[in-house]
Symmetry: C2
Subunit: 493 residues, 2 copies
Amino acid sequence: MAMANDKEALDGLEWRVTVPSGSSVKMEWESSVIGRAWTWFAGAVLMVKSKVFGFGKNAWKMGVDDPRKVIHGIKVGIALSLVSVFYYARPLYDGVGGNAMWAVMTVAVVFEYTVGGCLYKGFNRAVATLSAGGLAMGIHWIASKTGEKVEPVILSASVFLLGAAATFSRFIPTVKARFDYGVTIFILTFSLVAVSGYRVDELLDLLQQRVSTIAIGISICLLVCILICPVWASEELHLLITKNMEKLAESLEACVEEYFMKDGAGDGKNSCSQKSQGYRCVLNSKASEDSQANLARWEPAHGRFGFRHPWSPYLKVGAAMRYCAYCIEALNGCINSEIQAPESTKKHLKEVCMKLSSESSKVLKELSSSIKSMKRSKSIDLLVEEMSTAVEELHNALRSFPNQLTQAAVQPAVEANEEKKHSISVTTTLPVMEVLPLITVASLLIEISARIDGVLDAVRNLADLAGFESVENEKPPSPTHQEQEDRKAFQEV
Amino acid sequence: MAMANDKEALDGLEWRVTVPSGSSVKMEWESSVIGRAWTWFAGAVLMVKSKVFGFGKNAWKMGVDDPRKVIHGIKVGIALSLVSVFYYARPLYDGVGGNAMWAVMTVAVVFEYTVGGCLYKGFNRAVATLSAGGLAMGIHWIASKTGEKVEPVILSASVFLLGAAATFSRFIPTVKARFDYGVTIFILTFSLVAVSGYRVDELLDLLQQRVSTIAIGISICLLVCILICPVWASEELHLLITKNMEKLAESLEACVEEYFMKDGAGDGKNSCSQKSQGYRCVLNSKASEDSQANLARWEPAHGRFGFRHPWSPYLKVGAAMRYCAYCIEALNGCINSEIQAPESTKKHLKEVCMKLSSESSKVLKELSSSIKSMKRSKSIDLLVEEMSTAVEELHNALRSFPNQLTQAAVQPAVEANEEKKHSISVTTTLPVMEVLPLITVASLLIEISARIDGVLDAVRNLADLAGFESVENEKPPSPTHQEQEDRKAFQEV
C-alpha cells in the first residue's frame, strides 16, 4: 500500500486514492458503492503497476549487469522462430506432419544456457530416443509373436521392469551427472512406443520420422547456441576459478589489514569490509563448479581449450581454495572477536603478519593470473620463497615474542627506578588471554600459507595435465602440446 | 584384462583365454584366425561380464544401503504400468486417442523422488499448460482475424517474444527456484499451439483433451507417490539438519579428544579419525538443504508438519551450523599441524579444553534432539550455562597460563639448587612458538562455543516459528499452536 501511495505521489496525481486497509477508513469525498469499488480497483491497479514496475526494474538491472542473460533469451526466441518457420509450410498434427511437433518440443527442452548444456541434452535426447525406440520395437516384435492375450502382459511387464531399472540407475552418481536427462527420455520413449498399438513396420516408420525431426530440432539448437554469442561452460568454469582465487587473495589481505589498522583508522573499516568478505564466494562454490565441469566435458575443442582438456584438476583447485577459505573464515571470526589484544602488543607482530598476508596474497594472485593466461608462471617460485621467508620471520617473531614483551615492560620500569633489576619478573604475570586473538591470528596465517601450498600443488597439477605453456624461451613446449592434442584427437577418431 | 583372468580363474575354467594385449603375445595352442577371433570374443565377453558383475554389485549395495531408492524405482514402474493399462484399451496415436500419449509423458517426466518434487512438477505442468494454451489460443484468434499474410508473422513474432521473455525470467532467483519447470512447459506448449495449423475451435477441443490427459497423468503420479511409501522432502530436510548437527557435535568432541590423547594412545587416532571428520558433511550441505526446502514448500500438511510449516528457519539453522563447521575445519588443521606443543604444556589445558568441547558437544546434541522431537528442550539453558562456565574456566586457565608454566619450570630448578631463587627468569625465554598450536586450539574452541550460541539462536527462532511444544506441564501451548494452524488454514481456504 505504501508503495502504491509513493508511486502515486511521484506521478503527481491530483486525486488521492485511499486504499481501504481496514474498515475504519472513512471515505469522505465519495461514499457510494461504485465509488468504493472504483477506489479499490484504482488502488489495486496502482499496486499491480508498482509491483510490475519494481519487477521490471529488477529485471532490467539484471539484464544490464549481465547482458548475456538477455542474449540467451533472444537466442531461444530465434531458435523457436526458426523451427516454427521451418515447419510452418506443413502444419503440425496432420498425418505425417504430426511428428514435426517433436522438433518444436526438442528446441524448447534442449536449449540451454551453455554450449555444454545444449550438447549434453541434445546427445542424451538423441541417443535415448534411438536406443529406447529400438529396444521397444524389439520387445513389441517379440510380444506380437505370442498372441493377443499374452501381448499386453509382456508389454506392461517390460514397461514396469525397464521403468523401474532405469529410474533406479539415476541414483548412481555417474549416471546422475552425465545421463540424467537421457534416462528420462529413455523411459518416456520406451513407454510411448511399447504402449502404442502400432504394428512393427509402422513403428519403424514412426521412429525414423521422430528421430529425423528430433535431429532437426537439435541441429537448430546447436547452430543457434554455438553461432550466436556462445557461452562455453569451460570458459565459465575457468573464469569462476580465477575470479574466486583473486577474491580469496584480496580478502586475505584486506582481513589482516583491517585487523591491524582497525584502531588506527576507524573509517577504514567499512571500506575494507566488502573486500574482506570475498572469501565467502569461495565457501559455497562447490555446486556450481561441479555442474560446470560436468557440462564442460561435453564441449568440443574451442579457443584455448583443446580436445579432452582435463576438467577434474579444476575441481581440485577449487577444493584447495575452499580449504583455504575455511581458514580465512576462522581468521575473520578471530578478528571480529570481542577480546582484542592491546594496541601495544599488536604492533609487535603487525609488520610480520602484514608481510605474510601480503606475500600469501601475491602467491594467490600470481596463480590466478597463471591459470587465466594458461601459462606457467616464471615468478611463482620466487613468490613462494618470499612467502616461506615471511612465515619464517613470523616464526622468529613468535619465538622472541615474550622477550620483546619483556623489553617493552622492562623499559619503563628501568626508567622509573634504575637500581631495582628484579623487574624482569613482571613478564611472569603476562596474561596469555590478552594476546590470545593476536597469537591465533598469527597461527591461522601460518596455517593459511600452508594451505596456499596446497592450492599451488593443485595448480601445478592442472598446469601439467592441461599442458600450460612455459614462458621460458629456450624450450617452447607449445607445439609439442599441440602435437599431443592432435595425436589424441586422431586416436579418438 | 587382469579382471577377466581373475574371473576366469575363479570360475575354474579348464581352458585358458589369453587376451591379446599386444602383438607380441604368442598363441601356441591354437593359431587359426577363427581361434583368435574366439579368444578375443571370449575375453571381451568375460570382461563385459566382470564389469557388469562389478556394476551390479555396486548397485546391489546401494539398494541395500537405502531401500527407498529401490522402492522409488518400483513406484515409477507401477505408475507407468498403471497409465499404460489405463490407455491400453484405446491405443495411442489414433485420432482423439493421440493425446493419450501426454498421460504417459506426464508420468515419465513428473514422477519425482519426493512428494514435494512430484507436486512441484505436477502443479507447474498443469498451470503452465493451461496458461500457455489459453494465451496461445488468444493470439491465434487475433492472428486469424488479420488475414493469411500477416498471420504467420504475428504468430512467429509472438513465439519469439514470449520464448525470449520466458527464458529470461528463468534467471530470476524466485522463478528459478519455484517455477523453472513450469517456464519450460509454458514455452513448449505455447510454441506447439501457436505454430500448429489448427482453427481456434479445434484448438479448444485439443487443449481440453490435453489438459484432461495431463490431469490423469498427474493424478496417477501423485496417488502412487503419496500412497506407496511416500518420501517427504520436509522429513528429509528435518532429518538432514538433525543428523548434521549430531555429526558436528561428535566430530568436535572427537577432534579435541584426538588432539589431547594423540601421544598417550597412538592406536586411538585411527579409530577417532572417521568420527572427527563428520563436520565435512556440514561444509557442503547448502545445495541439498536449499533444494529440499524449496520442495518442502509444495508439500501439504502431513505428520508433524502442519500447513505452512516454516522452512526458511531450517536454512538459517543450516547456515549457523556451517559457520560452526568452518571453525572446526580450522581446528582440525591446527590439530594436524606439524608444530606441536610438548606434552607437558599440553596437559595444563587438557582438562579445561576437553571439558569445553564436551559441553559444547552436549549443547549441539541437545539442540539436535530438540529439533528431532520438535519439543523445546528443558535442559538446554542448563547446558548452555555449563558451556559458558567451561569457557570461563578456559579463560581463567589461559589467564594463569604463564604462571602455571613458571611453576612447572621452577619446580625442577628449585629441586636442583635450593638456594638460587632467581630461576623465575626462566619464564622469559618461554617461546610462544611451542605453545602456539595449543593456544590456537583453545582460542578456536572459544570461538566455536560462540558460534554454537548462533546455532542456539537459530534453533530458538525455528522453535518459535514452527511452534515447538514446551515440555513444561504448567502451560501447554500445543492446542494454541493447533488453533493457529487451523486459523491459518481457514484463512487460506
